[in-house]
Symmetry: C2
Subunit: 454 residues, 2 copies
């Protein structure tokens, strides 16, 4: 078996304490990288082989970027970190007391320290039956599926001869007016107005209807009111119908019911609720109402001094203010936990509590259109959009991805087109016809056909 | 219904004859474009929304390029051609006599002229049961599936503790030594030697085994013998085991049997047989043994003067020599059929027969390694590779795709990395273990766990 010897550089050296990190999102990946010089062995477990840059997922869903532009193989990111290994595996449960992680294939993974960073998933607020009709946007597969649905809706509308069906196919409803919902709505309006404008012969894509529904009185609820108002204005300018203070009462095959009004739509996207990853329940520690793990000011569940929970999975507070579920907070949490473990491995006593530094929030709305809140400085419009692009390029992992994304943004800016308009996986559109009949025949093309089809 | 009125520019004008083109590959798409100034209405029907640049499919399968880099939405390609419309639909049958096309959803599409260009699919030479174990490479979905299998094989090998299983996981068998097989084998060897070399901790990817199996006495059988020999030398240099004159006798879950020898492999790729698209059988015209439509020297099935069959679906001959199933022949056939239809629509009498101009063939083997046959000029190695890159970039459809592909090739050349290493869709690797037991525990990390898992 000499050709499959275990390689020389071995993170398995049993002399060092073993840190297991569960989840390769922002929290987990930045924690692993922050442990590069610590005297520990690191194992990062994720059920996917790639880290996804979630803030740009909506651009994959709206055919602006390729899946691989916003994803990096976790293994490649940690390639040069010789104290880290990556396992592509699903975690079935965690025994905090026994210091053991059980993988779904039965393998047991012992740990000395663990960082749990499995993030969040969608929540339909108890209406799980809405899920098939209103997919959410958390993974690359979600984004590809939404892209497929949006593009197929136009294709089916082009072929439909039933005006009601066509209207429903060209109606896009986004539930949830947070950053993801705002960004999706803006991008879908732009696709209709620009990218697809001259691609069809029967329908006019610029007449498509994009609705953004938000239960609270304004879009982007956590932002300052002036920015929410600006975002709403920019959305309306793009042609989005913004409905705030409106609750979705039903989602089904036919569309949605909003405040008693039925809106026929074949494409509903869920950008509303967030629920903690179900792994939290296996920990046997207190959870909050959203299923997140309640942690102390050191990001640890009470009673465990070798367990950290970071990112969207944690219900954390910093001096009484709850830490938001954003990428920046996950990164800071992951790095904090890594530093605490490195200190411990070096015999240094505990650091102080976790402090979240809010570096600002931004949401893009469309071409040259965005809002940005940096505390004292608030931007909207073109400069907010420039700042948004700059910050997102900076944080993208991998030089290659940065160059490719910049180039595609430039191309889109100049041409108004979208490059990733692929429909893959899944079938053809189902076409509803008012009446199934042959199309009008060319004159002089001979008699109407009577021969039976083969 | 004023918001969904039929647009002004209407290719449906019933005064003009109706040309239906079935298939948006090289033959169909170039035919549609060649009809831009003809006094006809054109309808291009394809069951996918995108044209795929098939010669680069293997680069998607080997994680070098993104699916959308080598694909273009057919609708976008024909955007400015006002006499053409695009239908995303599947053709269920063609009634040549009744001049009617039946779509799978029941719609009937009458035509005056038809160009059938639905291409070819894999053939397992009657061993259809091999298909699940040895996927072929014809569509983007095929390429994504092969990429998934290759990357998962490494992931599973990293986790496997059974040496035999690990060896089978790191053995890749490509059946068929034509251009696709040669290109896949070279790329898989390069992935192992370079892209993945330092990404794993338990396995050594550079020890992976890549086998190329060809039934004929040499690889690239249609090429001149010197180039076949050069290709084989270049493959061996990359670490590929080349087995020529060897027949595959079985393919199953465990691997392949080649000339009585069983080779354990978890990843077998089929690059051997080609069969005409099954639509040919619905035409009711003579087919050859591979199921292709036998056409006359005007690319028409005998007895029909308004039907053309072009590309891989046609069994065509030019002065007694059969026209090969390559992109160049499909393009020339599509353009020939379009010119014939345009002439007819203008009342001009028939042109002469179809002549295929062989502009040469090329296959890339790896980094700075290829063979090219331009008739009198034959290249191999670096200059063949440069020529290959240049020609493929030139023929890629869409400025955006050209720039993105060039940039990614440059990046790969400089870094030895591959950028599209995404595993999407489908599950985790199945991991076989010699013995299921906890991994060695860190010393000083406390007692061995005894607590039951949650």
């Amino acid at each position: 078996m000499s050709c499959f010897v275990v390689s020389e550089v071995q993170p398995e050296s049993p002399a060092l304490p073993h840190v297991v990190i569960i989840g390769g999102g922002f929290g987990g990946l930045y924690a692993a990288r922050a442990l590069v010089e610590a005297p520990v062995r690191v194992t990062l477990v994720d059920r996917r082989n790639h880290h996804v840059f979630q803030p740009l997922l909506y651009q994959v869903a709206t055919a602006a970027l390729n899946p691989s532009d916003i994803a990096a193989p976790i293994r490649a990111v940690l390639r040069r970190q010789s104290n880290a290994r990556v396992l592509l595996a699903e975690v079935a449960g965690i025994d905090l007391t026994g210091k053991l992680i059980r993988l779904s294939d039965g393998e047991l993974l012992p740990f000395d320290y663990v960082i749990v960073a499995t993030g969040a998933t969608h929540s339909y607020f108890g209406h799980e039956d809405w899920a098939p009709y209103a997919p959410g946007l958390k993974t690359l597969e979600d984004a590809i599926e939404i892209r497929r649905r949006v593009l197929l809706a136009y294709e089916a509308a082009e072929r439909s001869t039933d005006p009601d069906e066509r209207r429903a196919l060209l109606t896009f409803v986004i539930v949830g007016g947070g950053p993801t919902g705002v960004e999706l709505a803006g991008a879908l309006a732009e696709i209709a107005r620009h990218a697809l404008a001259s691609d069809f012969r029967t329908i006019d894509p610029t007449q498509a209807r994009v609705l953004l529904v938000e239960g609270q009185p304004r879009v982007l609820p956590p932002y300052p009111e002036t920015l929410s108002a600006s975002a709403a204005r920019q959305l309306v300018k793009l042609g989005v119908e913004v409905r705030t203070g409106a609750r979705v009462e039903a989602v089904d095959r036919g569309g949605v019911v909003i405040e008693g009004e039925r809106i026929a739509s074949r494409t509903v996207i869920w950008a509303a609720g967030v629920a903690a990853s179900p792994l939290a329940r296996s920990l046997g520690v207190p959870l909050d109402r959203a299923g997140r793990v309640v942690v102390d000011d050191h990001l640890r569940p009470p009673g465990f001094d070798n367990v950290w929970v970071v990112g969207d999975l944690a219900a954390a507070a910093d001096q009484g203010r709850s830490v938001p579920g954003v990428a920046g907070a996950a990164i800071q949490g992951g790095e904090y936990a890594a530093r605490a473990i490195a200190d411990r491995a070096r015999g240094i006593s505990d650091r102080g509590p976790f402090h979240y530094v809010d570096k600002g929030s931004m949401a893009t709305i469309g071409r040259a259109s965005a809002v940005a809140d940096f505390g004292r400085v608030r931007l909207s419009g073109f400069f907010a959009w420039l700042a948004w692009g700059l910050v997102h390029i900076m944080f993208l992992i991998g030089f290659r991805n940065r160059v490719l994304v910049m180039l595609q943004w430039l191309w889109q800016y100049l041409t108004f087109q979208r490059g990733a308009r692929l429909i893959t996986g899944g079938g053809l559109p189902t076409v509803a016809r008012a009446k199934l009949e042959p199309q009008p025949r060319a004159q002089g093309a001979g008699r109407m056909p009577t021969a039976p089809m083969p």
